[in-house]
């Protein structure tokens, strides 16, 4: 646990030292703020004291931002060789992956925490379903965790950051929309399988305020599968 935190601290410092974090936070707040308050089907258009609009927008913005944050996590360490330094210290592959995962997750949590004024504003505007808001935030965090895990997995496959970025978008798009679209066009068992695989199904039910263990299991399994996959790829240095 201590080792994981040491890795996380270093990663966070690297992210915050390199403008990356600030650009990401400003861009995230800019995008989500613009679409939540000013443009298109915004909060005033919906006319309800609810943050559903924001959650939908954040759902898309995070989908694009997270691969940009995770792409360098392993790929760069492989390329520069620092992974060798790291792995010859008394840490396990598993601890390194969790450390990196946590660092990106913490950054996302900070970005989401900065949208709390939206919540307060809407609260002032009318009667808001507080439970739904918190579970919406929980949904965003779970969904981010899933994409971070996928991003780290992609990053461990290659030592080229761009490839890692595109690959995690490619894997992500399946969970994000393709499975959902397939579920819509199919019936029977196959339809319900795709419906279960689709991330948006689970995100929507959580962001509506229904926290079901089925959804939690779904997110946790993506997180673990991603990290287990990354570990398997890191361990491949021993077999090839």
């Amino acid at each position: 646990m201590k080792q994981i935190w040491i890795i996380t601290k270093r990663e966070l410092r690297a992210i915050f030292d390199s403008l990356m974090a600030y650009i990401m936070i400003v861009a995230f707040l800019g995008f989500s703020g613009f679409f939540t308050w000013l443009y298109g089907g915004d909060i005033f258009y919906v006319g309800q004291a609810s943050l559903q609009t924001f959650f939908q927008i954040a759902y898309w913005t995070l989908f694009f931002f997270i691969p940009a944050l995770t792409m360098k996590q392993i790929a760069e360490e492989k390329k520069t060789g620092t992974l060798e330094i790291l792995l010859t210290k008394p840490v396990t592959d598993w601890q390194i992956l969790w450390g990196k995962f946590l660092a990106v997750l913490l950054l996302i949590v900070v970005a989401l925490a900065l949208t709390l004024p939206y919540y307060i504003t809407v609260w002032k505007l009318g009667p808001i379903d507080n439970g739904a808001v918190w579970s919406g935030y929980l949904g965003l965090i779970l969904m981010s965790s899933a994409y971070i895990s996928i991003g780290i997995f992609s990053s461990s496959i290659t030592n080229n950051q761009i490839v890692a970025f595109l690959l995690s978008l490619l894997i992500g798009i399946f969970f994000h929309i393709i499975f959902g679209a397939l579920a819509g066009s199919m019936t029977g068992t196959l339809g319900s399988v795709f419906n279960y695989l689709s991330l948006s199904t689970h995100f929507e039910s959580i962001s509506r305020g229904v926290i079901d263990s089925k959804d939690l299991i779904y997110f946790l399994s993506i997180i673990f599968l991603g990290l287990i996959g990354s570990e398997a790829i890191l361990a491949k240095r021993n077999t090839n």
Partner: protein, 332 residues
């Protein structure tokens, strides 16, 4: 109150703050590592004792780096085992890693980090007690001569200073075993001398393995040399032992003046301990004299010259250079 304080201070001074294991031998036991179908390391066995500096030599791709990576638990060997201080890298890699300081090839570093931050990170990761970290960092800055650079980012440092940061990182937890893959590449001659001195100093109490293809460097810093080629050991011994092994016969280059060269040639050949005489430069009366096995001819040649009223103007014993040994054992 004052009395109690000083008593506590004395107590603190005399009780060792942490227990240290002093003996950390490395035993590499029949290690094989393959990449695909290619055997990088082939049934390799050797051991290194505490206080010994082992030089690892070999042509490119001989398996030096692979062996080092296996000892530092970065790669698992396909077969065989390595024990560091009696602990197997297979059974307890994290315990082994705690006692090893490693400077990989090309010295990878987090370029965005500051020198002090990086050393702090390494120390924490190596499990140095938090209270001792500032002291250790100060020590490393002193030993590795980083004083003027300690507030810079690693990116801003020149190659020589980066190398020192790499070394500081490897030594931060005061490891019993130090493994360095080509520690002096890219350094200027002054820095090379400094790093070598540092290695020698460290090597007195630690177990050190370093690889290099600069033979003079290995000769200057190492107690023992291991030459490997295609994953196998082809030579093992102190520099002197290796030289003796390769050389066999004594060879002298001499120049004798004051007589007829053909006559000198024949007289030299008549000496019992001489196996072979050859002209190097007939005009200048230069000869190469090779003695029999274990024979020594210098004295006989001298006596001969006195008797015939010649004089020796040059006498150079030819030593086999480490380069020759290296070429000889790695070429076939």
């Amino acid at each position: 109150m004052l009395k109690r304080k000083s008593a506590a201070f004395i107590f603190y001074k005399f009780v060792p703050r942490y227990q240290k294991m002093f003996y950390m031998d490395i035993v590499v036991d029949r290690v094989t590592k393959t990449y695909g179908i290619q055997k990088a390391v082939d049934d390799l066995s050797f051991s290194v004792k505490t206080g010994e500096v082992l030089g690892f030599l070999g042509p490119n791709g001989a398996g030096k780096s692979t062996t080092m990576k296996a000892i530092t638990c970065f790669l698992n060997p396909n077969e065989g085992d390595i024990k560091v201080g009696g602990v197997s890298i297979r059974e307890n890699p994290n315990e082994v890693k705690k006692h090893i300081g490693y400077l990989p090839e090309n010295n990878p570093l987090y370029l965005d980090m500051g020198v002090i931050d990086y050393l702090q990170f390494s120390a924490e990761l190596q499990g140095v007690h938090p209270g001792r970290i500032p002291e250790r960092i100060a020590e490393m800055v002193r030993i590795c001569g980083l004083k003027g650079e300690k507030h810079k980012k690693i990116r801003e440092l020149s190659k020589g200073y980066r190398q020192r940061v790499g070394l500081a990182q490897a030594l931060i937890h005061d490891p019993e075993v130090l493994i360095m893959d080509e520690p002096t590449t890219g350094l200027d001659p002054n820095q090379i001398v400094e790093i070598r001195e540092l290695i020698r100093k460290i090597g007195r109490e630690k177990t050190v393995i370093l690889s290099s293809h600069i033979l003079a460097e290995v000769e200057a810093t190492c107690d023992r040399i291991l030459i490997i080629s295609k994953g196998k050991i082809v030579a093992n011994g102190t520099p002197d032992q290796l030289r003796k092994q390769a050389q066999g016969n004594e060879v002298l280059n001499i120049r004798i003046e004051g007589g007829d060269r053909n006559q000198i040639f024949e007289t030299l050949q008549a000496i019992p301990s001489v196996a072979l005489v050859d002209f190097i430069n007939a005009e200048e009366n230069k000869f190469q004299v090779q003695s029999n096995v274990d024979g020594q001819s210098a004295r006989a040649i001298f006596d001969l010259c006195v008797k015939n009223n010649w004089y020796i103007s040059e006498l150079i014993p030819i030593e086999t250079k480490l380069e020759d040994i290296f070429r000889e054992v790695t070429m076939n």
